[in-house]
Symmetry: C2
Subunit: 211 residues, 2 copies
């Protein structure tokens, strides 16, 4: 069956395709639509709320079951900021790499202004699946706990990866191999929970309940 993936990020689309194709799903991207779909306003207060807004809007617009995700970083000493504003924390100008650099710089600067505080933080990923009528079938949310590094470290990953230090490893998420990162990342964890759910969903849609 067809499954619409509500992302325009090629990296996230590839990750999803790798998980979903072996389960027998035909992955459909937003770009495959004959006309551009209206972009919903992601104005929820939580990652889960925004994932729900996207899954619902795109599922109904395309008439397909849709998987949407929303993710970002929460810093305790900044009262949870950047939170749902993570992607555009320092503005929406420039290409992705420029925005990442500006976001990371703004986060370090905001934290420095707080003085000597605990630097606990976490990546959060929320995933939502809605059917063609917009009914939410499944949701999941996972976190990756860490602390904000004193400065950018590592060349891998993207977004805030060079700033989230995994205390047990003494390395930032940008210093891990893709496999190490995926094993502990918020998105890796949420995607595995999604895959476990989708395996059942695929069987049901094929009309062969496991019994």
């Amino acid at each position: 069956m067809k499954l619409l993936i509500a992302t325009t990020n090629p990296g996230k689309l590839r990750e999803m395709r790798e998980v979903l194709t072996p389960l027998g799903f035909e992955v459909v991207s937003l770009e495959s639509a004959s006309r551009a779909l209206p972009e919903p306003v992601e104005d929820a207060a939580t990652f889960a709320g925004n994932a729900r807004i996207k899954a619902d809007a795109y599922a109904r617009a395309r008439g397909l079951t849709c998987v949407a995700e929303d993710s970002g970083i929460e810093v305790d000493a900044l009262d949870g900021a950047p939170g749902v504003h993570s992607a555009r924390y320092a503005g929406s100008a420039g290409v992705r790499e420029e925005r990442d650099r500006a976001n990371n710089a703004k986060l370090l600067s905001a934290l420095a202004q707080r003085g000597p505080v605990a630097r606990d933080a976490r990546f959060v990923c929320a995933i939502c699946v809605a059917d063609a009528a917009g009914q939410v079938l499944f949701e999941t949310r996972a976190t990756c706990e860490g602390v904000i590094a004193p400065e950018l470290r590592g060349e891998g990953g993207f977004g805030y990866d060079p700033l989230l230090l995994v205390p047990e490893l003494g390395l930032t998420m940008a210093q891990l191999s893709p496999e190490q990162k995926n094993a502990r990342s918020h998105r890796g964890q949420a995607t595995r929970a999604l895959a476990a759910w989708l395996a059942t969903y695929a069987r049901q849609q094929a009309g062969t309940p496991r019994s």
Copy 2:
């Protein structure tokens, strides 16, 4: 590692134990505490909110990572009722079987009063995992879609199972074998997503990141 399961329902505890023991977790029940734990007030507007309240409260009270769930039935023509009030929809008197009977009778009667309306409904299960500090590590929510049967059908299951008809099968959840029920139930789906997440969590707690 130890994992506290925040339920007093022996059936749910057994289901969780079956999933979690093979993953290497030592399942701890609420009853195993040397003194009774203070019961948190489950006053959230959603199943996910109540699961979060329970996971947070019991995790901090016992100093253990805690898995909590909240579940129930939503009926569209009743504006989502009984919803978070499912367990005590018709009051909290009597043993479980008596409450089930009263709840099912009240639901049929409430729906009859609405006249000839669509009988769409769904079971919802939310699961939340919090660590000993009350930090939410993982959440998931799954549904099982159906319609309310004209009358009670089937002897299996519990709660509202005899009233939720699975249209594709023409049977209520109480008419399915335990395996068939588990394959499509809200709790079965959410538990499989939890198990997929816990497999990673177990590896991380053991200090052996998959790489």
